[in-house]
């Protein structure tokens, strides 16, 4: 099992506070890791460090595959239409697949030309999931998915769509790292944050 992502002894310093240290794990194709723990224990910071947006205090990260990041914000331009937003990001990151089908899959097929500004929070999150669905599997342009509370703002139907998406991505050899409170509908290793000096 080729390791897609290897993290050893990762530590993070925020301001004058040591958020976490000694975090190590390895993820191969088709494996998932759910990051849980109370607020302010560095779940988001861990994902941002892996994404390269935040500098780690110490530790090594090695991955030879590209990553895709889902943050708290949806990176959607209100003035651009649903389709324009989707097409822009998918083409920038080299995604594949039929965009109309992606919108259809997440219940947005009927409003491709609507400006994203009028979408509800749930619909905006579904549009982001539609973007992720263009990077399915281990051989996609972005096989490693870093998702910060992907289930937030989703209703039950949306959550079911999310679980299907993740299952399909894992089945096709992709990797999922998700920070969440309520756990996800996929079997995954768990990394509890909050107790300093821990790591699975």
């Amino acid at each position: 099992m080729t390791a897609l992502l290897e993290v050893s002894d990762l530590a993070c310093q925020r301001g004058t506070r040591r958020l976490f240290d000694g975090v190590s794990f390895t993820l191969g194709g088709g494996e998932a890791l759910v990051i849980t723990g109370p607020n302010g224990t560095g779940k988001s910071s861990l994902l941002r460090i892996l994404a390269g947006l935040l500098e780690e205090e110490a530790g090594e990260i090695s991955h030879d595959d590209e990553m895709l990041y889902l943050g708290h914000l949806d990176a959607l331009k209100p003035q651009m239409s649903v389709m324009e937003n989707l097409r822009f990001w998918v083409s920038l990151f080299g995604g594949t697949g039929d965009l109309d089908a992606a919108l259809e899959r997440f219940g947005l097929g009927h409003i491709p030309d609507l400006t994203a500004g009028v979408l509800s929070a749930g619909q905006r999150r579904r549009l982001t999931l539609a973007r992720f669905s263009c990077f399915l599997g281990g051989d996609s342009a972005r096989p490693i998915w870093l998702m910060d509370e992907p289930d937030s703002a989703l209703d039950d139907a949306g959550r079911a769509l999310l679980d299907d998406l993740l299952k399909e991505h894992l089945a096709r050899g992709g990797v999922v790292l998700a920070a969440t409170h309520r756990g996800l509908g996929i079997e995954a290793a768990e990394l509890r944050m909050g107790e300093l000096g821990m790591g699975s």
Partner: protein, 217 residues
């Protein structure tokens, strides 16, 4: 490179749909130029003597006005995070942003120049050198401005600090630009202006990219 032009096209499209497009900057520019005669008096020979300088200062201020949103909008909706992770190098993204900013904000001012120059009684003879000096010099305003915008992204009241940071660095562009606006096309000020723009083209993207990474972290 396709991603580069996709980013330029997106920014131009957004500028068009967002807040009246170029007309806000144009309106501000015309108002600033109109204020000068009120302050200085309607002495036509005096106005024509200070004309190029006034027009250059007005272009400079109009450019500054529109820089505040250069990265701020993407920072606020989370796009900046994705941009920093995209295959397109950040330095190229800064260049794309500067090009889009220059096209949507500064070119309309230059196009409107003949229609506005009469406000300061500009002699028609020096209209061409003025426009050439603007075309040569204003890219440096967008490039250095991008560095200021990248340093103050995510900062409350960043626009104020942006002006304080960027204006001192604009001094060479203003000095050579206003001088080139009155002189001949290949005169020394025009050459120095070109050199200043090229230097900004070479240095500003790297400094701005570093500043963006710092601001996001």
């Amino acid at each position: 490179m396709r991603a580069f032009w996709a980013l330029v096209a997106r920014d131009i499209k957004l500028a068009g749909r967002l807040g009246g497009g170029p007309f806000v900057g144009l309106g501000f520019f015309i108002i600033v130029v109109t204020m000068v005669p009120f302050g200085v008096g309607a002495d036509l020979p005096l106005l024509s003597r200070i004309g190029p300088g006034v027009l250059w200062v007005a272009v400079l201020l109009a450019t500054l006005l529109s820089l505040d949103r250069l990265f701020q909008a993407d920072f606020e909706d989370g796009s900046l995070d994705l941009f920093l992770m995209s295959p397109l190098p950040v330095e190229m993204q800064v260049l794309a942003k500067c090009l889009a900013h220059w096209i949507t904000n500064t070119v309309p001012l230059i196009i409107a120049m003949p229609a506005v120059a009469f406000l300061v009684n500009l002699e028609t003879g020096i209209m061409l050198p003025l426009i050439v000096s603007l075309l040569v010099g204003t890219p440096s305003l967008s490039l250095i401005g991008a560095l200021g915008a990248a340093l103050t992204v995510g900062v409350r009241r960043g626009g104020l600090v942006l002006s304080l940071i960027v204006l001192p660095l604009y001094v060479p562009a203003l000095i050579f630009g206003a001088a080139a606006g009155t002189g001949d096309l290949m005169g020394t000020p025009m050459l120095f202006l070109g050199a200043f723009s090229l230097a900004s083209l070479a240095l500003a993207p790297f400094a701005a990219a570093a500043a963006l990474r710092i601001s996001v972290s």
